[in-house]
Amino acid sequence: MRIVAAMSGGVDSSVAAAALVEAGHEVIGLSMQLYDQREGREAFGSCCSLDDLYDARRVAAALGIPHYIVNFEEQFEQTVVRNFVEEYASGRTPIPCVHCNATLKFAHLLERAEAFDAAAVATGHYARVVYDEEHGRYRLLRGVDPAKDQSYFLFSLSQEQLARAWFPVGHLTKPDVRAMAARLGLTVADKPDSHEICFVADGDAGGFVERRLGVDGRELEGEIVDTAGTVIGRHRGLHRYTVGQRKGLGLARPIPMYVLRLDPAERRLVVGPREELGRRELTASRVNWIAGSPPDGPRRVTARIRHRHPDAPATVEAGPGDHAQVVFDVPQLAVTPGQAVVFYDGEDVVGGGWID
């Protein structure tokens, strides 16, 4: 079968492509160019993930498959970067990776795959898709490696997208993947995992947002208040803070203070002691149900409110509209607007949405 392998130049997607080749598929490697990666115009040496694209190309050559770099700068700018800046500007803490997956990899790239007569897009995500014959639909499952599971980032995939999404490393552990890369002699076998937000070169998301908004950081400064409304300090712009944050507040208080809430209307940062951080309920919006339709009535799930957070038992109920109400059995720390909440039933992703 002809399959498009989305190749980022990392070890996971490289091994995903290799596994498809070994399985006898006709694999076409595609890498996405997402932002302008030209070397500095005057001086050079300041770079960049051009290296990743070159790694992808080398892996494709080693696998003996064609490889193309597709220019998605415009799509990336419109669906990922702009949203990232807007979310921060409105006092939320975004996760751009979800948009990148749903819109770039499993919409635009899938469309390219169709253009090239390929049956599916394969990525290096640690997640699994299985077809449920009985109900005639696809299930999205956690990756086998609990330390690497990336199903959280894929909650927004529709049945149509799942039908054509392949995750060849989802049933492997990271050590398996590295071992396979080493066995195949792939140069990326020992390449470190990426953690940073890829388009924020220096890790300074705050500075990135300010540059994109075209403002001086000082214009965004405001008051830090406690829950009684007493001003107890100043902040450097709400986009530089996230709920649950304790470090970097610059407060001299007898007890540790945490960010409880960002209040963009008043441009205030509301802080308080750890006990006040817990929340039992949340509303999620733009909820996607993997089965294709919402469950009838309340459903017992475990819910995850951040990528690297353990699941917590909760009850979720769909509605109104594409919203869902989530009630945790015990209060959760740092429920953060802009992050995703993803519902699981054992291995299965039930659905997920954006925390309001």
């Binding site: 819109t103 253009a115 007569d117 529709s158």
Partner: protein
Amino acid sequence: MRIYLDYNATAPPLPEVVEAVSQAMAGIPGNASSVHTFGQQAKAALDTARTEVARLLGAEASEIVFTSGGTEADNLAIRGAAEALEQAGRRHLVTTAIEHEAVLNTMRALERRGWEVTFVPVDASGVVSADAVAKAIRPDTALVSVMHANNEIGTLQPIEEIAKHVRGSGALLHTDAVQSAGKVPIDVKALGVDLLSISAHKFGGPKGTGALWIRRGVRLFSQMTGGRQERGRRAGTENVPALVGMGVAARIAARRVATGLGDIAALRDRLESGILTAVPGTVVNGDPARRVPNTTNISFDGIEAESLLIALDLEGVAISTGSACSSGSLEPSHVLRAMGLPQPRTRNSLRFSLGPSTTKADVDFVVGVLPKLVSRLRQLGRPAVAGR
């Protein structure tokens, strides 16, 4: 089966060139600067190559400076002239908006270092008007650089006319003839230019070799400093085997151009009219008459050139758009943009460039396969996007 229609990117080395280069690799081991017999042998081989390259351009062998390619030749011409004439108070440069990046980015680099640069626009057919260039020339203009043939759309620029305006202004006239050498007859005297760049691999020679023709008496500042090679105009031991190959390619190109390039224009026209007929929503970019005989640039409504290029490659057909960035992904064409084409057309056009090995069967295969690919691309249903 693989069909190669990307001769403007590079023309695969001619068999005679491959043969000559390998023989020279083994048989001419010396350094052309050496006094001894080995050196003399290498020097003689270089002289022959220089004469053959000069003949392709209607020039004298002594006016040819070998370089590492078209880009270096352009850099030497522009930077060399700008720096030489700076002392005379000339700090202004003129070029066009559709030049190759070798010229455009060299101009921009000089601009950042204090030179003033005028980028003359082109009309909707991709031709610069000689009058517009004339108007851009000032008393302090050091150099005018206008390409002979455009690499993306193939249009030929009115160099002779421009030369009339430059003459007497005290400025030098450079033309980047990388895309015209070997495709149309070139006579540097008839063109009336002072400097002319060529690249061997565009007419079947080895990559990494090129030349700048410098009219006798024109003074440039060298850009590569070191030994006294190339009469002190370009330091560095000459790549003798590759330059021998360039000489052979130049000889063959000169012969071909003199006999009218066979039926390449007829094949190009067959391809062009075939596509226009078989694929609705297509249009040719650039002046249909004033262009090199091997190139056509066609816009396909409602598609991304990038996807069509990949789909064609998967069918065994190699073409390009002419503008790629450092990663190899495609960018909107600065040439089509400069022609004032609407934004979609700067992203939906493909360049087909033919060469001496192109056959009627190649052309017919491409015309046959395109309708299927284009309609598949046009029919793509956008998959549902959830969770946005």
